[in-house]
Amino acid sequence: MTTTTPTLPAGAQATGKTSTAAGRVRKRLNSRTATLASIVIAVLWTIPTFGLLVSSFRPENQIKTTGWWTFFGDPQFTLENYQEVLFGRSSSSGQLASYFINSLAITIPSVLFPLAFASLAAYALAWINFRGRDWVYIAIFALQIVPLQMALVPLLKFFSTGVSLGGVPLMPAWDLVDEQKFAQVWFAHTCFALPFAVFLLHNFISQLPKDLMEAARVDGATHPKIFRTIVLPLITPAIAAFGIFQFLWVWNDLLVALIFAGGGNETAPLTVRLAEMAGSRGNEWQRLTAGAFVSIVVPLVVFLSLQRYFVRGLLAGSVKG
């Protein structure tokens, strides 16, 4: 989780450029003090998480009465917390194990849908000439400004009462029950993700060399063909980067899930369960330590395995060349 980029190979490239300001900064960032400083920051940054991890292995009354550091003076180890949060007793709500599946069922389609729509839209906006193209792009770009909280109630109304114009029903209510409510969550997450996804992928796709497209066109390739065989392979890093963004966002989302999935154990994701885990009056808060760790396992795996794209994705809008 800690990316210590400055410690990467002090460079031969840097030595030649010490005269410029940027070169001097670069050199200093590669020095031993900078490395040390970044390690200190990384350690400081990790301490709370580490404390949480230690706490999650301590017995309940220890957690509730003493700080996690007392563990080192008086080590008492137990897996009780994990046992309880994963497979514990509460019959009406079940424990984390079943919500884990719900979280995956919400997150994966909510990542794939916007990716599919956005890459198609971005390609069309970048390489197909049609009237008003720029205005459409600007409108999509501007939509990023709208906070999703504003859309919650109208969207919920859209699902529960359908759409009617002047008394004429255009679309009936969805009337979803139980597991079908996943569709609402996918829909909501896809809507909220699209503007940014289109923007990010458009930046990437529009930078592809024009010659490539023209050559393909001359060889008789259609748009679907170009998109599939040329564009998609080229924008994989951007797709991966957005995929991680969206995955982490959806996985950690509480608000959208709470409103569109409800709190029932058929559809509620981990975050919803985690928020209720401490009990009606917060008296079971020792469970939160273990619960938090269970819920960060998947994002951690996703992040660590794809982090190279993540860094590249962060730079997607800024450095081009």
């Binding site: 009465t65 919650l152 919920l156 994989t236 009606s280 009056r281």
Partner: protein
Amino acid sequence: MAVFARPRQALAVAGVLGLALSVTACGTGDDKSSDKADSAECAAYEKYQGNDGKKVTIYSSIRDIEADRLDESWKQFEDCTGIDIDHEGSGEFEAQLGVRVDGGNAPDLAFIPQPGLLKRFVDAGKLKPVSADTKAMAEQNYSADWLKYSTVNGQFYGAPLGSNVKSFVWYSPKTFKEKGWTVPTTWDELIALSDKVAASGTKPWCAGIESGDATGWPATDWIEDVMLRTAGPEVYDQWTTHGIPFNDPKVAEALDKAGTILKNEKYVNGGFGGVKSIATTSFQEAGTPITTGKCALHRQASFYANQWPPGTKVAEDGDVFAFYFPAIDPAKGKPVLGGGEFVAAFADRPEVQAVQTYLASGEYANSRAKIGDWVSANNKLDPANVPNPVDKLSVQILQDQKTVFRFDGSDLMPAAVGAGTFWKGMVEWVNGKDTATVLQGIESSWPK
């Protein structure tokens, strides 16, 4: 652009997650039948029959183990009537309920713990008045003190369900016995006891008002409890409805009276430090020093029984127990501060009304109470059915003829005050701000 780097890795991760998804087992639909409807144990539910196969959704702030107990409590009702009750509890209940109602996705029933919130839904035209059956049942089983909180403009919108008593002082019977202290029954005895404990070198009171984004609420309960004692129930009602301003001298008097304990360095904060440590001590832990003898008294509601460290025996002869927070002038009756939730309906289908009526009944109250950790002001509730000693004491207090019950004031006030400036004002007050400034600040925040 070095963009060709290993797309396979991305695909692999997606693939693994996809596989995990495909394992998703869809929940099994359970079909309930009411074959048992004619059996003897179902006789009590006869009047709720005729809604077989219908579903009623309930939304509340009750979750986890307490939600399990709810499900268990109406199990027999479900089996006998064939009505499927689908309960959902959420920690974000208050905010979510508004969103759901606005979004056209309201639950059939909601357990609303704040009369102020209930009134807001009535004003917005969202709540349905109860059926005549429910009303008759509620009037039979609950005192008028309770019913008035869910009556808006003469219409009755929901019977009370569970309740809690907030006028309790927790203590350790064991320590009291060892030291020869006795449980005080008047305010003067309470102060005399505090002085005695303070003289022995222990700070007598412990308190804590930290509670996340609701920090301050335990102190508002303190003030309300004292206000009910110094000014009496009529003035209390005026105060909660803004009939008198928030900075009325009578409110200031109550605050100062509470201050003789809460802001007295000799009295607080046992086990934690000085007066200011009250603001930073979490309410869940505030009473813990009682179990270690570092503090003698802790004013907190009956539900604090669940907060003690594991292994603490809560009983009159156990490690901890509670006594009634004594009245200042016993001639004015026995003021009791409490809270509770009301069963309000957003739908008026017959099965919803049947459930609503059932929840107001004595059968339900006894069924729920037997499972444990629950109190109701329902006068059909037999104290013998309440297993937990503190709950039993609560039921006795609630059913006592001398009891003058008043609802938690901060739940009656507009949310901007009751769940906002009142809380914050109390934190400032504990941290040393003077009474007049604090009250003036809260008064000026009251919505016009």
